[in-house]
Subunit: 442 residues, 2 copies
C-alpha cells in the first residue's frame, strides 16, 4: 500500500497555517462512515468496481489488439481516466507500440482531421463511451465515424464497441438495433467515478495491461477505507484535513503534484473529479493540475509567495525502474561538477523533498503520498483512493458529490442553437445575449 505522511499540515511543523490534532474533533467521522455503509447515495456503487468480473472486457480487448489503431470517442470522465491509464502505464505509446491509441475528447474539427489523416479506418477499432448516450460531443463524433465506416463498406459490428448504460439511452438503443458489441457501465456509476469500470479498463487491456492488476490495487485501498474512525481511515483523514484547511485556514486550492511525467494526466483526471464534485453552492475546494520537477519552474513561485490559498499533495515515487548516472565531466566548472556521481533518480527525489521542505519552512501546508512504483497496481490504488476521498469531502461540505447541475445551462443553450425540440426559447435567449455583446477594446 502507498504511504501518507501528513507532518506538513500540522502546526508543530509549519506553524499557524497548520492544524492541531484537536481540530479533527470537529469532524463527525461516524456520519461519513454511515453514509458510505448505508450507501446513502446510489452513486456510491463505484465502491464495488474492484469486485467486477473483467472477462468480457478482456475479450473485447483481445479483439481490439488485433487492429493497428484504437480510437476512443468520449469526453470528461469517459476520456480522462483512459488517458491517465494510457500515459501512466505506456508513455510515448504511439511511437513504438500497437495498436496506436487516439482519444478524441472534443469537437475540434482540426483534431479529428489530423487523426483521420494518420489512421486507416480499415485497421481501426473504435470505442464510443457515454454513460447516458446523450452527450452531444460524443454523439457527433460517433455519427461522423459511423458514416465514414459505412462509406468505406466496413462493418460497424467488427470495428466498434459501445460502452454505455446496460439498459437505457440512445447508444444502448443503437447497440440493440444494429446488434453491436457493447460493454456496460453500471447505471449508478457516474462518469468521473468510472475509471475502474469498462470505461478505463478496456483501454488498459488494449495497451497490454491486465485490468485485474488495477482492480487488485483498488481493492486493497478500498478495504483500508472501510474503517469508521478518522485516524484509522486514510480517506476520511485526508478529506477532513483538506476540508479543515479550507474552513479554518482559507486554503481553497488543492494542487495535485506527482513527481513523474507519467502521472501528469493523472493530475488532470483528479482535477475533473475534484472540481465537478466539490464546486457547488458557492463553496468547495478547487484543484490545480501539476507535475514535478517541471512546475518548480512554473507554479512554485506562486505557491510559496503568492496568495495564501494552496495545499499541495505531493506524490513521490520510490523506484523509478530506470536510472542514469551523472557522468564525471566538466570538472573545471563548479556549477556542474557537484552533480557528477549522483544519479537522475537521486536528483528528482531530492528535489521533491527539497520542495516540500521549502514550502514547509514558509508555513505552506502539504501532504506526501509515497508510492513504491508506478504500475497498474498502484495506479489502481490512487484512482480508488481519490474517488473515495472526493466523495467523502463532498459529504463534509454537505453537497452531492455525484451531480453537476451547473453545466446544464450551457447545454440547453447549445440545444437551442442546434435546433433540438423543446429548446426554442433558449435559442431566443442565446441570440439576445449575442446582440448585447458589443463592447470591443480592439
Amino acid at each position: 500500500m502507498f504511504k501518507i505522511n501528513y507532518s506538513n499540515i500540522m502546526q508543530d511543523i509549519i506553524g499557524k497555517n497548520g492544524l492541531i490534532a484537536n481540530d479533527f474533533n470537529n469532524i463527525d467521522d461516524g456520519k461519513i462512515y454511515k453514509i458510505i455503509l448505508n450507501r446513502q447515495y446510489p452513486e456510491l456503487a463505484f465502491l464495488d468496481l474492484p469486485e467486477q468480473n473483467t472477462s468480457e472486457i478482456k475479450e473485447i480487448g483481445k479483439i481490439a489488439r488485433q487492429f493497428d489503431n484504437f480510437l476512443l470517442l468520449g469526453i470528461g470522465g469517459s476520456a480522462l481516466g483512459p488517458r491517465s491509464i494510457l500515459e501512466s502505464l505506456s508513455p510515448f505509446h504511439n511511437l513504438h507500440k500497437k495498436p496506436k491509441v487516439f482519444i478524441y475528447d472534443n469537437v475540434d474539427p482540426m483534431t479529428l482531421k489530423a487523426i483521420l489523416e494518420i489512421i486507416d479506418l480499415k485497421k481501426t477499432f473504435i470505442n464510443v463511451i457515454s454513460k447516458s448516450g446523450s452527450t452531444a460531443e460524443t454523439a457527433v463524433s460517433f455519427m461522423i465515424l459511423w458514416q465514414r465506416l459505412k462509406d468505406l463498406g466496413l462493418s460497424h459490428d467488427k470495428h466498434m464497441v459501445i460502452t454505455t448504460d446496460p439498459q437505457k439511452g440512445n447508444l444502448r438503443k443503437i447497440v440493440s438495433d444494429y446488434n453491436l458489441k457493447s460493454l456496460p457501465i453500471h447505471p449508478d456509476v457516474v462518469g468521473r467515478y468510472s475509471v475502474l469500470s469498462p470505461v478505463g479498463l478496456l483501454t488498459a487491456e488494449v495497451i497490454g495491461i491486465d485490468s485485474d492488476d488495477l482492480l487488485r490495487g483498488a481493492k486493497e485501498i478500498g478495504q483500508r477505507c472501510k474503517i469508521a474512525r478518522l485516524w484509522d481511515n486514510p480517506a476520511i483523514f485526508i478529506s477532513s484535513a483538506l476540508y479543515l484547511l479550507q474552513v479554518l485556514r482559507n486554503r481553497d486550492i488543492t494542487v495535485m503534484l506527482p513527481y513523474s511525467d507519467r502521472l501528469k494526466s493523472f493530475s488532470e483526471w483528479f482535477c475533473q473529479l475534484w472540481a465537478e464534485s466539490l464546486g457547488k453552492q458557492g463553496r468547495g475546494l478547487m484543484p490545480y493540475p501539476s507535475v514535478g520537477t517541471t512546475d518548480q519552474h512554473s507554479q512554485l513561485q506562486a505557491w510559496i509567495e503568492g496568495l495564501e490559498k494552496y495545499v499541495v499533495i505531493f506524490i513521490s515515487v520510490d523506484d523509478y525502474k530506470a536510472d542514469f548516472e551523472i557522468p564525471h565531466i566538466f570538472n573545471n566548472i563548479d556549477g556542474m561538477s557537484y552533480l557528477s556521481g549522483h544519479s537522475l533518480s537521486e536528483l528528482i527525489k531530492t528535489e521533491q523533498e527539497a520542495t516540500e521542505i521549502a514550502l514547509s519552512k514558509k508555513g505552506k501546508p502539504s501532504i506526501n503520498i509515497n508510492i513504491p512504483r508506478i504500475d497498474a497496481y498502484y495506479l489502481g490504488q490512487l484512482f480508488h483512493f481519490f474517488s473515495i476521498t472526493t466523495a467523502m469531502t463532498g459529504f463534509l461540505y454537505d453537497v452531492n458529490p455525484f451531480d453537476q447541475p451547473g453545466v446544464e445551462e450551457g447545454k440547453d443553450l447549445t440545444y437551442g442553437m442546434m435546433g433540438k425540440k423543446g429548446y426554442e426559447a433558449k435559442r431566443e435567449e442565446f441570440l439576445n445575449y449575442r446582440k448585447n455583446k458589443d463592447k470591443y477594446i480592439i
Copy 2:
C-alpha cells in the same frame, strides 16, 4: 489583429460581480506607460524581440531538419514556449513528420529512458536551452547526453546547439571551450518571456514554420500596445480589468480557456508566465490551464457554482481550416437527429458562445479573445500580447514581474544535498527536516 470583447466583465451585462467604466479611473495608465517607455526594468528587452534578425536561427534550423530527431533539453520557460509552438502549429507531429521532436523538461529517469529507447542518437540533433547555464535539471540532462554522444563517437559540434546567454555562464564557457554551435538569448530577456527569442524560434524552424511569421504577428500587436491611454491600449486595458476584478471583486483566478486542442499547451505556457510573474508578496492573480469544449465536462461546474474566484479568458477561433458535416442518420432518435446537418465547427463555436452566456447569466465575468485562425502569425500575437499584459499587471500590483525569489530556497536545499560547495548548512537543515517528518496515517 485579434479582437477582444469585454462585455462580460461589465456590470450592465453580468450584474454586481462586474465592473463599471468608472472603476478604470482608479488605474494610473500614464504610470504604466512610462515604465514601458523608459524601460524602467531592463528585462523589458523582450519588447524588442519582434525586431530580431532570424538568419542565424534559420541556418541552425536547416541543419536540424536534416536529422530524424530533435531533442530539446530545457525546463520552465525554455520548454513551455517551444512545446506550445510545436503543439499549436504541428499537432500529432511525431506521428507523421520529421524530425520527430522530443522535449525533455524534467529529471524523470523513466522519461529519459523511454526517449533514448525510441531515438537513435546518431540521427538526433540536440538543443540545450538555459539562459543562465546553471539550471540543475538542464545541466544534468546535458551532461548525460554529452557523455552518450562521446561514447558513441559522435561529434558534439555536429549534434548539438546550445541556446544561452551570449557572454556569461557555464554553457557559454563550454560553447567556447569546445567550439560548439550556439544561439544567443539576450542577457535581459528572462526565461518565461523568451518564447519569441531563439528559445522558441528554433523549434519553429525545425518543424517547418517560418519564425518570421511569429514575429510579424508579435510586431503588429506590439505596436498596438504602445499607446498611453487605457481605453486605446488592449494590454493596459486587460491587465487593469483583471487587476480590478481582483482588488474590487475578489476574483483571484485567471482561467485560460482556448477552444482548440492545439492551444492546450499555450494555456500551460500562459500559466507559468502568470504564476511566476504575479505570485508575490502574498498577493497576485493565479492561473488555471484549460481547454474547451473538453473542460465544460471537467471544470465548468466549479466556475459556475463553486467559489466566486474565477475570471475566464476565452480564446475563440473563427476558421478552424477543417470541418465535418454531421450526417443525417439515426433519424428515429430524438437525442441525435437534431444534430444532423450541422457541422463540427458550428458545434464547437456554438458551445463556446453558450458557455460564455451561461457564465454571464450567473454573473461570472469572462473576456473573449477572438482569433481568425491558428497559425504562426496569430500565435505570435498571443504570445507577445500576454507577455506585455503580464508585465503590466505586475506593475499594477507593484511587484517585479521578472524575478522569482520564492523558488531559491528549494534550489539551495537541493544544492546542499547534492554536495555543492558553500551549501553545507542547507544539507544539515534538509536532514533535520527529514527527521521531524514522522506523522504517517498509513
